[in-house]
């Protein structure tokens, strides 16, 4: 009776956090202090930004952490006004039973620039009573004034060995057999993303009694959007409109993000060349285009447009 393992096995204390030793060591120094600078955690998904923020808040705020901690989803559709109002009403009150209050804002890079500028004011106004922890995937998408108000911590992808050990620990706890190969293949797919690793593990546990290489592959191929291959085929055959329609449907219906799409496209194309279904020279051209697209998605304003442009490179 546990629900998702990613939540069940989320480390609750700073010392339990996997990877990120140096960051944690640094953060531990803030414990017991009367104040804490505003922090910004940047790094890819699933490397422990939120976990660290929660653990830090619990450690610093102690037993009354729930009363003095607020978590906000900055990219929430409810808009910046709601976020600001919530920040305001939260910061206005004095901390109770704790040195100060902590606000954790997730996905700040998805906030509009205007919203970020508004946030910057809020950060200035309540320095005495509250500290901010911001989290984002790309600090480049955060306006400079906010960056300059924060101590920035870069979270690196978690090392394979560390992920593997954690997975082993979970398996033992849940009473699942897992062979080494199976765990290693999870580590390979996870690419340093602990959340993904644990999700694959739990999904694979549904498939059978033991976690093997096969059951992992089964999960990974099932979890992949089915239409990516179809889309690439259409584009390769010169049917741009067809490919574009699949792309739009996938993104709108399944809500797949632009970054996920690029990764999926990359994996699909890679598999083609590994299976000998695509010439190496064509592959290299495509990789160049995919790499450029990946970069442009971060630079541009509309990931879908960039992906449509990528599809034209397959024609």
């Amino acid at each position: 009776m546990s629900g998702p393992w990613v939540e069940k096995y989320r480390p609750q204390k700073l010392e339990d956090i996997v990877g990120q030793r140096q960051i944690v060591a640094r953060l531990e120094k803030y414990v017991g202090e009367g104040s804490m600078p505003n922090l910004m955690f940047t790094g890819p998904a699933g490397v422990g930004k939120t976990t660290t923020a929660l653990a830090l808040a619990k450690t610093i705020l102690g037993e009354y952490w729930r009363n003095n901690f607020k978590e906000l989803n900055a990219s929430d559709a409810r808009g910046i006004d709601t976020v600001r109002n919530e920040i305001k009403s939260f910061c206005r009150l004095k901390p109770v039973g704790a040195p100060f209050r902590i606000i954790f804002l997730d996905e700040v890079d998805n906030m509009t620039k205007d919203a970020q500028h508004a946030l910057r004011r809020e950060m200035e106004m309540y320095t005495k009573t509250a500290s901010f922890i911001l989290s984002c995937n790309y600090s480049s998408k955060i306006i400079d004034p906010i960056q300059s108000r924060c101590a920035i911590f870069r979270f690196a992808p978690i090392k394979g060995e560390e992920i593997k050990n954690r997975l082993k620990f979970i398996c033992e706890n849940e009473g699942f057999e897992a062979d080494d190969k199976g765990l290693e293949s999870i580590v390979y797919f996870a690419e340093g993303d602990m959340r993904k690793a644990v999700n694959v593990l739990q999904a694979a546990s549904v498939e059978g009694e033991a976690i093997t290489e096969d059951s992992v592959y089964e999960v990974v191929s099932k979890a992949k959007p089915q239409d990516i291959g179809k889309m690439i085929n259409s584009a390769l055959m010169g049917d741009f409109m067809g490919a574009r329609n699949i792309l739009r449907e996938t993104m709108v219906l399944q809500g797949t993000s632009g970054e996920d799409m690029v990764t999926q496209i990359y994996q699909d194309v890679s598999k083609r060349v590994l299976d000998g279904k695509m010439e190496a020279s064509i592959y290299m051209d495509l990789i160049e285009a995919i790499a450029e697209c990946d970069y442009r998605i971060r630079e541009g304003s509309n990931p879908r447009i960039q992906l449509e442009a990528l599809l034209t490179q397959f024609l």
């Binding site: 990219s75 997730d106 549904v206 329609n245 399944q254 809500g255």
Partner: protein, 505 residues
């Protein structure tokens, strides 16, 4: 005060140009006045030539008028509730006619004003009152069903010399000195738009100096802004940079223009290398929009505009000699049709944010794995329970949420079984905690009593603290059982009467 308002014509004879059209309108008004109902008038023509002014002048001929324009939300209901009632019935007191003015009919928004056009059609059919409809674009799709039911009056642009004459009158009345050449310059630059001509005159006039032609020349006055369809056609059909740039000079959200161009590239361009090249320019335009958003420096827009305008236009080898219908981006339709699905998704990501601290993007990337996990009946129930799917008011909503991850419902048998198991676990957990707490209390008490005999201040007893800490910790670990623990606490208090003072603060 705006001169356009100050010098707005007050009667038909003051209106500039369009004499023939005005005659038709006068006849129409007179017919109504003689109790001879007429079909509605549809005034069509470019902006700033006096359509609304005409309607307002006509309104004076009637006892009352109702007006709606594009800034109103014009869904079917709104139109029916504001006009519909009054349109089909006439006042009980006297038989005076009410004039109905519908401005900017072609601006009715496709999705926001759902059914708006149909509602207008119905009102036209049932109306017992005079009605004037106003629109800019004669060829607008939204006018198609309305046109046959109306007397269409195409209003022409005013000629530069009549505009110039009007400007001279205004200048005189305002006491500003303007060179005749300057008046001509303003009049021609306005391209028949009287309103913009008057606005320009007001903007440039200086009480103390003479307005010269060169003053006017140096200022960009009215640009002939084309609509989005002209812009797209310009980009796709032309290869001349000057042409394209002019076509791109429109008052629209540039990212919307980009969507339109992108949508129509593969519809117009047929060769792969053309599409590739054109789309690469679109991609570059998007990058510049990204830079604009990031830096809030709108100077990047001009590059974006050139990339998606001139860049796309020169991506073709030759201009295609065929007619391509400019399409609205399919992505809008797709998003509209799937609003329900997306709302459901948002609801789930919100629940996941609350329970699992994941952002919406991360939540969505977990969906495929959840789908696999949901294949297992028991795990499906567990996760649904964990995410609070069962907290929905309506059971149907819960089912909808579960359906996002699995087609079949969770079998009733499994649900009852899991609910039982959960209740069982609850009881066990509570008993375990109670037991634990009791043991701890027992350990402390002898110690506490010992010290209290030494010291007369019970609240300073150090030995009590661990017990309190335990309680708090457990309170925090699991919220749902919070109340039960408190109950336990009370029980403990009653049992250990000697300890009450310690708990009372």
């Amino acid at each position: 005060m705006l001169w356009t308002d100050k010098y707005r014509p007050q009667n038909l004879s003051q209106v500039v140009g369009n004499k023939k059209e005005i005659k038709i309108i006068t006849d129409w008004v007179n017919a109504w006045k003689n109790n001879d109902p007429q079909i509605p008038l549809l005034l069509v023509g470019p902006p700033g030539i006096g359509k609304t002014t005409l309607a307002l002048i006509i309104a004076k001929e009637f006892s009352e008028y109702v007006e709606l324009n594009a800034s109103d939300k014009r869904s079917q209901d709104v139109i029916k509730s504001t006009i519909g009632e009054s349109s089909s019935s006439r006042s009980l007191f006297g038989d005076e006619y009410k004039l109905i003015i519908m401005d900017e009919v072609d601006g009715i928004h496709g999705t926001n004003d759902r059914g708006g056009v149909r509602a207008i059609g119905e009102i036209i059919k049932t109306s017992k009152h005079p009605m004037i409809l106003i629109a800019n674009d004669f060829y607008s799709k939204r006018l198609q069903s309305i046109k046959p039911k109306c007397t269409v009056i195409k209003m022409k642009k005013s000629r530069w010399n009549s505009i110039s004459a009007l400007l001279r009158k205004i200048a005189k009345a305002e006491g500003v000195e303007v060179e005749p050449a300057a008046l001509k310059e303003i009049a021609t630059k306005s391209q028949g738009d009287v309103r913009s001509a008057i606005n320009t005159l007001q903007a440039l006039s200086d009480k103390d100096g003479v307005l010269t032609a060169s003053d006017v020349e140096n200022i960009v006055t009215k640009d002939s802004r084309s609509d989005i369809f002209n812009a797209i056609t310009g980009v796709l059909k032309s290869k001349t940079p000057a042409h394209v740039k002019e076509a791109m000079w429109i008052e629209e959200d540039p990212t919307l223009v980009m969507e339109y161009i992108a949508e129509n590239i593969p519809r117009e361009y047929k060769k792969a290398d053309e599409i590739k090249k054109a789309y690469d320019y679109i991609s570059k335009a998007d990058i510049n929009f990204g830079r604009t958003n990031r830096s809030r420096h709108y100077g990047y827009w001009k590059y974006a505009s050139d990339f998606m305008g001139i860049g796309v236009s020169i991506s073709k080898h030759e201009t295609y000699k065929k007619f391509t219908k400019i399409q609205t981006p399919t992505i809008f339709g797709l998003m509209g049709r799937n609003r329900g699905k997306r709302n459901l998704r948002d609801k789930i990501t919100e629940k996941m944010f609350e329970k699992m601290h994941v952002s919406s993007g991360e939540a969505v990337s977990m969906f495929p794995y959840l789908e696999i996990m949901f294949q297992d009946d028991e795990l499906a129930w567990e996760i649904s329970e964990f995410l609070g799917f069962f907290d929905e008011q309506d059971e149907k909503d819960t089912e909808k949420l579960i359906k996002v991850f699995r087609k079949k419902k969770i079998p009733k048998k499994v649900i009852t079984k899991m609910e039982k198991r959960k209740a069982q676990m609850h009881v066990e957990e509570r008993d375990r905690r109670a037991e634990e707490l009791k043991n701890q209390m027992m350990n402390i008490i002898p110690e506490a009593e010992e010290t209290s005999s030494d010291n007369d201040l019970p609240f300073e007893i150090p030995g009590v603290e661990p017990a309190e800490e335990v309680i708090e910790e457990e309170l925090l670990e699991e919220e749902p059982v919070e109340e039960e623990i408190k109950e336990e606490e009370k029980v403990e208090k009653k049992e250990k009467t000697t300890q009450t003072t310690l708990f009372s603060f």
